[in-house]
Amino acid sequence: MSCKRARNLFGRTWDDEVTQAEREWLEGHFVSCAACRAEYEGLARTMELVSSMPREESPADFVERTVARARRAATEPDRVPGISHRWIPITAAAALLAVLGGSAIQWAGLSTAPEQRSTTQAAAIQQPTWVGPAPGTTPAAPSSGTDEQLVAGAATVPDSVFNHGDDVEFILDPVTLRKGRAHTTIRGTDAPRGQQATITF
C-alpha cells in the first residue's frame, strides 16, 4: 500500500509539485524500501538524460525561407489540399462500383418486358409515407412483410392515397427529384436520351 502511494508520487516529485509533508513521507519510505528508491532513482536518471538532450539548432536561412514560403502560401487562391493520394484508390473503386451498379440496373431494366419495366420502375420509385389503405385496396402494412412485399403492394396502390404533404423537393440539375418520385428533365432535343436517372430513397 505504501509502495503504491510512493510510486503515485514519483511524477509529482520529479515535477517538484509535492508538498513538504509528502516529500518527507517519501524520503522516509525510501529509507525502508530499497525497491522504491531504486525505481525513483532510475526515473530521475532517465529524466536527467532526456533533459540533457541538446536543443536542435535552426538552419541559418530558416527565417527567410519560412517567410518566403508563408508569403507564397498566403497568395495562393486556395490552400485547402485537394484529394489526398490515399483517397484515389477508394474514389476509383467507388466510381467503378457506381458505373457497374448503373450498368446492372440498366441491363436489368432492359431485360424485362415493357409492361413489367413500367411496373418495376413505379415500384422502385414509390416508397413514400404510408397513410393507410385506400378504399377497395388491401395492401400490406409497411411494418409487416419484406421490402419486396411493400414495394409490390405500393405498386398496386394509386398515388393519391399517399400523403405528399411532407415532400421535399430537391433540384439536382438536370434531374428534378421529389421525395417518393423521380423525374428526369432533359434540356433541349440534342441531349442524349440514355442519361435518364432514376433515384429511389
Binding site: G11, E56, E57, P59, F62, R65, A73
Partner: protein, 186 residues
C-alpha cells in the same frame, strides 16, 4: 501577434525568429527526424500566417502555435505509421532497433563527440519509440517545459489525462533507456 494578424510581415518575421528554435526542437524530438522537422516547422509558421485571422486575441500565442505544431507532428507520425504498416520490412527493422537501444562499444580512444552523438541518437530513438499520444505530451512537458494545463489546452485533453500520459511516457522511456543507463553506469 496582433500585428501579424493585420498582415505585418516584419512582425511575422520577428515571430518566426523568436519561436523557430522551440518549434524545430519540438517537431524534431517528436519525429526523431531532423530533415523532415525543418520542413514541418516551416509548415507550422506558414499555417500561423495563413490562418492569422483565426487567432483569438487575448489567448496565449504559444499555446496556439504549439497546438498547430503538435497537430502537424501527430499527422506526420500517423502518416509514417500507415506507411510503415505498408512496408512491413521497415517495421521489422525498426522493432529490432527499438528493442536494442544501447550504445556501440566504445573503443579505446574513441572520440568523446562521437559517444555524445551516439547517446543523443539513443535517447532520440527511445523517445521516438514511445507511443504517439504519450510522446507529444512528454516532449511538451519534459523537453519544452510547458505546464500541464497548457499542454491540456494544446492537446484538447483534461489536465488529469495529461498527467497520466506523461507518467506513462516516463515509465516507458525509463524501460527503454534501462540498458543504456546500466551500460553507462549512470
Amino acid at each position: 501577434m496582433g500585428r501579424v494578424a493585420e498582415g505585418d510581415e516584419r512582425a511575422f518575421t520577428e515571430l518566426v525568429r523568436r519561436f523557430q528554435g522551440r518549434v524545430i526542437n519540438l517537431v524534431s524530438r517528436v519525429l526523431n527526424d531532423r530533415e523532415v522537422s525543418d520542413d514541418l516547422a516551416q509548415e507550422v509558421f506558414v499555417r500561423v500566417y495563413v490562418h492569422r485571422r483565426n487567432y483569438r486575441r487575448g489567448s496565449k500565442f504559444s499555446t496556439w502555435l504549439f497546438t498547430i505544431a503538435a497537430n502537424l507532428a501527430k499527422n506526420e507520425i500517423r502518416r509514417r505509421v500507415r506507411r510503415r504498416n505498408w512496408f512491413s520490412l521497415d517495421a521489422l527493422q525498426e522493432m529490432v532497433n527499438d528493442s536494442a537501444i544501447q550504445l556501440a562499444d566504445p573503443k579505446e580512444g574513441q572520440d568523446v563527440e562521437l559517444q555524445r552523438a551516439q547517446l543523443k541518437q539513443a535517447i532520440g530513438k527511445a523517445i521516438a519509440a514511445v507511443p504517439e499520444k504519450y510522446r507529444i505530451a512528454l516532449v511538451l512537458r519534459d523537453l519544452e517545459g510547458f505546464p500541464y494545463e497548457e499542454i491540456g489546452e494544446m492537446l484538447k485533453i483534461p489536465g488529469g489525462t495529461v498527467r497520466s500520459r506523461i507518467n506513462r511516457a516516463r515509465g516507458i522511456l525509463k524501460r527503454k533507456l534501462q540498458p543504456l543507463l546500466r551500460k553507462e553506469g549512470l
